[in-house]
């Protein structure tokens, strides 16, 4: 009997944990009858390992941290704009994969009212010490591969999320930053008229 119950639970978990969503009947049955004991055991799993859909969100993501306010430039050396990257470039390890998952989760969570902003703030606050500053710019970058038709093209970096996280008087503040293209100055494409003689 226990086996039958478990197998039904397994089926409902697979049906309910898909990227496509689930019906209210399946979701309710799973949540009421099976989730209370399958979730703690980490058995409430969809196993829908899609590997890729070829979408930008399936591309590799990473976290970049830099000081929000650059320290004054030293004579002859220019401003110090060191960037911490998680995972490091060329890190193919499972450890690096966990940072990539964190970056993807951070971007996806922005679509959820309850989760939006939580992870970016946590990443910033968690990395204050590593960055040596309490005022950081957190950027999630996705490295998008070209389509197959343009396979020889290089990957391009896109900013999926950019926020400023700072601790002011012990209080954590999250300031969303618009993507660079939204604040870039408009350049008038019209050539100079040659007036003003």
């Amino acid at each position: 009997m226990l086996l039958v119950v478990y197998l039904v639970g397994l089926g409902l978990c697979v049906a309910a944990n898909t990227a496509s969503g689930t019906s209210r009947v399946v979701g309710t049955l799973k949540d009421r009858l099976f989730a209370p004991w399958m979730v703690p055991l980490w058995l409430d799993l969809g196993h829908d390992t899609r590997l890729t859909y070829g979408l930008p969100e399936d591309a590799d993501h990473h976290v970049e941290i830099r000081r929000a306010v650059s320290p004054p430039a030293r004579p002859g050396k220019g401003p110090a704009t060191a960037v911490l990257r998680f995972p490091a470039t060329g890190d193919h390890s499972e450890r690096g994969a966990r940072w990539r998952r964190l970056a993807v989760a951070t971007v996806r969570a922005e679509e959820d009212a309850e989760q939006a902003g939580v992870l970016p703030a946590a990443i910033g606050a968690g990395l204050f010490r590593a960055a040596g500053d309490d005022d950081l710019e957190v950027r999630i970058v996705r490295r998008v591969a070209p389509d197959y038709e343009s396979a020889r093209s290089p990957r391009r970096d896109e900013t999926a999320l950019k926020v400023r996280v700072r601790r002011l008087a012990g209080e954590l503040q999250l300031i969303p930053l618009p993507p660079a293209e939204e604040v870039a100055p408009l350049v008038d494409p019209a050539p100079p008229t040659g007036g003003g003689k």
Partner: protein, 300 residues
């Protein structure tokens, strides 16, 4: 007429009951499950290593995955023993205890106690950082619970040596049959769920999914030159992945195809993992494939 119908129903029920009992409760030798135990323990140690480097950055007192993050993220019924670790030392102590459990599981020491404890540790670790969890972690959790149901310490184990039976095989147990049956069910379900998930997307139909896998920076083996040079190879690799997943999910239920697809899985799953940049997932699936390989004993 009604009598004949009733008799048929009773006969069908009896046949189903017999098949059910034969599949789940036929005693099985411990050797195959013991190999699964060793490999799962080894995989657990490798995966644990991938958590160790940033353990405090994630779960420490000022770590990224703070209690506030978990409140927004974790299911209400999710819980982790690691929540009680409030200092860096306590986090490390819990983690190292778990590593010791996985090591003991790999060598088969005090297995009846260690297997469920290792499963509890692993579930706790994953619940502490759910957004960091990958598909290999999920499969390992499933394997550890299955191992806890069986008697994987009855062969190739320190337990067997301690009991003085190193040279003799332990008696087959229905618990081993149950554990292997559950592993086979999960192997088929995971392969089928992966195939279904993939077939929702155009790239798996138009044959370019392999390109998007290979073109990721995180992929260990750079196949972009090969795939960019031949659309046919790209298409073949893409379709081969899905076809194998379907063949595996269905093939492990037929007595003629099971030995072939299960043994093929030992090689093909790691290859898929390599191409997809999910090597640990491929390794975990290979361990499940090993659990599906039939023994020389009569077919269950």
């Amino acid at each position: 007429m009604a009598d004949r119908f009733g008799t048929s129903i009773v006969a069908l029920g009896a046949a189903l009951s017999t098949t059910w009992n034969r599949f789940w409760f036929t005693p099985a030798p411990a050797r195959r499950l013991a190999v699964v135990r060793s490999l799962a323990g080894g995989l657990g140690l490798l995966l644990a290593w991938s958590w160790a480097g940033d353990l405090i950055a994630w779960f420490g007192p000022d770590g990224i995955v703070s209690p506030e993050v978990l409140t927004a993220w974790r299911s209400p019924t999710g819980l982790s023993l690691l929540d009680a670790a409030r200092s860096s030392a306590a986090v490390w102590a819990f983690f190292l205890l778990g590593v010791v459990l996985l090591g003991m599981l790999a060598v088969g020491a005090w297995t009846p106690l260690v297997a469920p404890l290792a499963a509890c540790f692993w579930a706790s670790l994953l619940h502490r950082g759910p957004m960091l969890v990958g598909p290999a972690d999920d499969i390992l959790a499933v394997m550890l619970w299955c191992l806890a149901l069986g008697r994987p310490g009855d062969a190739l184990a320190v337990d067997r040596w301690r009991a003085g039976g190193a040279g003799r095989a332990a008696a087959p147990s229905w618990r081993n049959g149950l554990a292997l049956g559950l592993l086979r069910v999960h192997a088929a379900v995971i392969a089928a769920a992966a195939a279904v998930a993939q077939l929702k997307a155009d790239v798996w139909w138009n044959g370019t999914a392999a390109w998007f896998l290979a073109a990721r920076e995180s992929t260990r083996v750079d196949l972009t030159g090969l795939l960019a040079g031949s659309e046919i190879i790209t298409n073949v690799v893409t379709h081969a992945i899905v076809l194998f997943e379907i063949a595996f999910a269905a093939g492990v239920w037929n007595r003629w195809t099971r030995p072939v697809v299960a043994r093929a899985g030992l090689v093909v799953w790691p290859l898929i993992g390599l191409v997809a940049g999910e090597l640990m997932w491929g390794a975990a699936m290979a361990i499940l494939a090993w659990a599906c390989v039939p023994d020389e004993a009569p077919e269950r």
